[in-house]
């Protein structure tokens, strides 16, 4: 099975870009003397996520840098090392390097391998020589910085907070010079002088930054031709300054830096009709460079064929379209009474509106729904690589890849799933020899499955490996000072592995073992309103089940009526419906009723009783029994009548209200009213408790 991984590259790059930006923001906001541990954790998680993603796609160079970054961050996070400005600087440089590597993979831009090596060295030096690093800047740690990212020697502000800039213009018409002088004059005091070669230079004293000056000048001329230096003393035309100003503009970082044009007229061939041979020679590279840039621009244009939009915008769109559909249905109802001959045109328009609305709704809905395959297909490669690296044999199986899930959820489930799958391969499945000695097949099985269940989507990662080690988890928890006791139930013990920084692996590898993964998993899933459940049996394997609420999923439902109320039953649970003969319904003293359906006695759940509704028929032989099945358990639900079958959009009741026992969600009917969706699994599980327990208060 070959999968074109490149279709997912874009997602990874987008995500990584976001993570890097986030990381930078956090780093810059970090208070070095008193860092917030939450911020450090967040930075750490960002690095970890990038590493995970990079490893998935086989970008080993990125993984390498992030791994080193992570090691250092981990020590700081655990308080083994004090955070210094050196660290923050190094992290920022590493961030730039990562962006560069990312661009390298993405656009095929040149990657400065020396800079990469330098930053790795620097990170390593910092994480090893923590003593010296904390004491003072070690020269070893200093030198690479200057090379890795040409330290932007910010001009020194004078006593008034003003900077002195010297701006050398290329040859431009006097009119432009005057215009520039006026514009720049608004920023601060300006002096103009004419250079020997008739070009003009300004000396500007201002409190504004260099970026602003460049921004103003770029109205008139190409900023690349400018030479801006802080007039603190250095001579104006220094080679570095030109390249520096290019860096600031975001250009040239990946292009071979040209030596600065001492005759900057080169880029203006039009204004120089009679160019000497030397000048035309120097014009050529400048032209090339322009082409090069245009090519990159075009590439950027192609990428914008897909856009990332906030989920809330799509949600809003879907809600509005829903409203539109209802309004359209209302119009249809109103005009239904009109004379079709007199109002032919109106009716025609209305039916066209109906068609358009339906198409619109379908189109909008399709924005969000995606098959789980989108996520699942990322893993085979990762599992194979990982298994190969660790010397394990793993068979990877996916189930329910066609299960549709909201796009918002799909995107957010990727990271947690990646962590879980990596964990399963690394910790769950044992080495072939060990598996053989414990009587299992050498090849471990890793199953990834998705299914709709009880108004939720359940995604399970199952391995048939060694299972979790209860004693080791408890030991580790004690070491970390978590409140534990030997009598804790298994399920509580398993939950301990979600604590931040918790890992029971003996060695920290670049695959896993830092204990950050599970922390992220739990956090991400909780943020989605879901829950994580672990089932594990020592020696037989572990299943991690992620249960996500259907914030927006379409459900095939069967509407049933009890009294005046209409409820929706998820069709997946419905086996059949029937009207029982009076003799088949038997009462069991104190236990309610059972009904005999084809030689099988099923418990009878009277919906009217559970929901305290005045029914039209309390006698089962008068009403309809809907046979439901969940987790292998069957029961018969007594309702008054069946209304019909329809697709409904599941809405979360809890976003504005609370969890209601026996209800998994709600939906909006065609007439704008609300109908509740029954939580069949819960009904079957606790049909009796529902009756006796006070649901409220």
């Amino acid at each position: 099975m070959t999968i074109d991984m490149s279709q997912f590259y874009k997602v990874f790059f987008d995500e990584a870009d976001e993570l890097l930006a986030e990381k930078e923001k956090l780093l810059l906001a970090l208070d070095v003397s008193n860092p917030d541990s939450e911020d450090l954790n967040a930075i750490f998680r960002a690095a970890h996520s990038i590493k995970g993603g990079a490893a998935t796609f086989g970008f080993s160079d990125i993984t390498e840098v992030t791994h080193m970054l992570e090691s250092l961050l981990d020590r700081i996070r655990k308080g083994e090392m004090a955070l210094t400005h050196d660290h923050v600087d190094a992290f920022l440089v590493a961030k730039d390097i990562l962006s560069m590597q990312m661009d390298g993979h993405h656009h095929g831009a040149t990657v400065d391998h020396d800079a990469v090596a330098n930053v790795c060295q620097r990170l390593k030096a910092l994480s090893q020589g923590q003593v010296e690093a904390a004491a003072a800047e070690t020269p070893a740690a200093e030198t690479p910085v200057a090379q890795a990212a040409p330290a932007d020697a910010e001009p020194v502000a004078d006593a008034d907070g003003n900077f002195h800039f010297r701006i050398e213009l290329p040859e431009v018409p006097q009119r432009d010079v005057d215009a520039l002088a006026t514009e720049l004059g608004l920023l601060g005091a300006i002096q103009q002088e004419t250079l020997p070669d008739k070009r003009v230079a300004f000396t500007l004293t201002t409190s504004e930054g260099k970026d602003n000056i460049i921004a103003i000048c770029s109205f008139v001329l190409d900023p690349d031709d400018l030479k801006i230096t802080s007039a603190g003393g250095q001579p104006a035309a220094e080679p570095v300054s030109a390249s520096k100003s290019e860096d600031d503009l975001g250009y040239g970082f990946f292009e071979p830096l040209e030596p600065p044009k001492d005759e900057s007229s080169a880029s203006q061939p039009a204004s120089q009709p009679a160019a000497s041979a030397g000048q035309s020679a120097s014009a050529a590279p400048a032209e090339n460079k322009n082409y090069g840039r245009r090519a990159t621009d075009k590439e950027g244009g192609q990428e914008s064929s897909s856009i990332r939009v906030g989920v809330e915008k799509v949600d809003q769109l879907i809600n509005l379209v829903g409203e539109l559909v209802i309004t359209q249905a209302m119009i249809e109802q109103r005009i239904g009474v009109l004379d079709p001959i007199l109002h032919e045109r109106l009716l025609n328009s209305a039916s066209q509106l109906a068609r358009n609305t339906r198409d619109l709704q379908e189109a909008v809905m399709s924005i969000r729904m995606m098959p789980m395959d989108y996520v699942f297909s990322r893993f085979p490669r990762m599992v194979r690589d990982l298994a190969g690296k660790l010397g394990k044999k793993v068979e990877f199986i996916t189930r329910g890849a066609a299960t549709e899930l909201d796009k918002g959820l799909i995107e957010r489930i990727v990271d947690p799933l990646t962590h879980l799958v990596r964990n399963s391969v690394d910790h769950g499945i044992e080495m072939p020899e060990k598996r053989r000695s414990s009587g299992k097949s050498e090849t471990g099985k890793l199953t990834l499955s998705a299914a709709h269940q009880g108004g939720n989507i359940v995604i399970e990662v199952t391995d048939d490996g060694g299972g979790l080690n209860r004693d080791r988890i408890l030991d580790k928890a004690r070491q970390q000072g978590l409140p534990v006791s030997d009598t804790m139930p298994d399920s509580d013990v398993w939950q301990l592995i979600f604590a931040p920084g918790f890992s029971t692996a003996e060695a920290v590898t670049d695959v896993s073992g830092r204990g950050v993964g599970m922390d992220v998993v739990k956090r991400n899933i909780t943020a989605m309103g879901g829950s994580v459940d672990i089932r594990s049996l020592s020696g037989s394997g572990t299943t991690i089940a992620i249960s996500l609420p259907l914030t927006l999923a379409i459900l095939d439902g069967m509407s049933v009526k009890v009294g005046d109320e209409v409820y929706i039953l998820p069709l997946g649970y419905v086996v059949e419906s029937l009207q029982p003969a009076a003799v088949d319904v038997k009462e069991i003293a104190g236990q309610g009723k059972v009904v005999k359906v084809r030689e099988e006695y099923l418990p009878l759940i009277p919906l009217y009783q559970i929901f305290a509704i005045e029914p039209r028929c309390a006698d089962p032989s008068q009403g309809i029994l809907v046979i439901l099945e969940s987790d292998g358990k069957k029961a018969a639900l007594l309702v008054d009548s069946l209304v019909g079958q329809q697709q409904v959009v599941v809405k979360n009741l809890e976003s504005n209200f609370r969890k209601v026992a026996g209800i998994s969600g709600a939906t909006i009917l065609g007439d704008g009213g609300v109908s509740l969706i029954l939580d069949v699994a819960a009904l079957l599980r606790s049909s009796r408790q529902l009756n006796s327990d006070p649901v409220f208060f």
Binding site: I318, G322, V660, A661, A666, G672, V674, F696, F697
Partner: protein, 167 residues
Amino acid sequence: MSYTTQTQNSMNEAGEGTGSEFLAFTLGSEEYGIDILRVQEIRGYEPVTRIANAPAFIKGVVNLRGTIIPVVDMRIKLNLGSPTYDQFTVVIILNIEGRVVGMVVDSVSDVTTLSEAQIKPAPEVGTVFDSEYLIGLGTIGERMLILVEIDKLMSSPEMGLMERIAA
């Protein structure tokens, strides 16, 4: 079905300078006020979908432009007046900590601005609300508004509207 309050003039009467704006509404014979910033909109009463086993004052849920929101009837909650539902019944849609809740009241009167000086501390007894949920009593000439801290009230376990109060 929704209509807006046209009450700009009363703001000017109530007082100039700094102050908070309150939406005044009546429940039975008493006049109450809530912070206008918590009010999202005011609508007429629409049929609700009943929630099984919920207390009587939780009328049910309705569809507010695609969002499902609970509707509570303060008249039932506070035993004030007789809950009737007709075209004059008013639902105040509140937005509390991002959660949207509808509140049925007898009528909405106006929006008033009350300065600090016009707000007196609430007496310990005397209203149907627990004084914990009161900001104070607002006086405008002869009128007296019972100012309710609606965030606190709606997120209280007593109302049972929200599973956990946003920290």
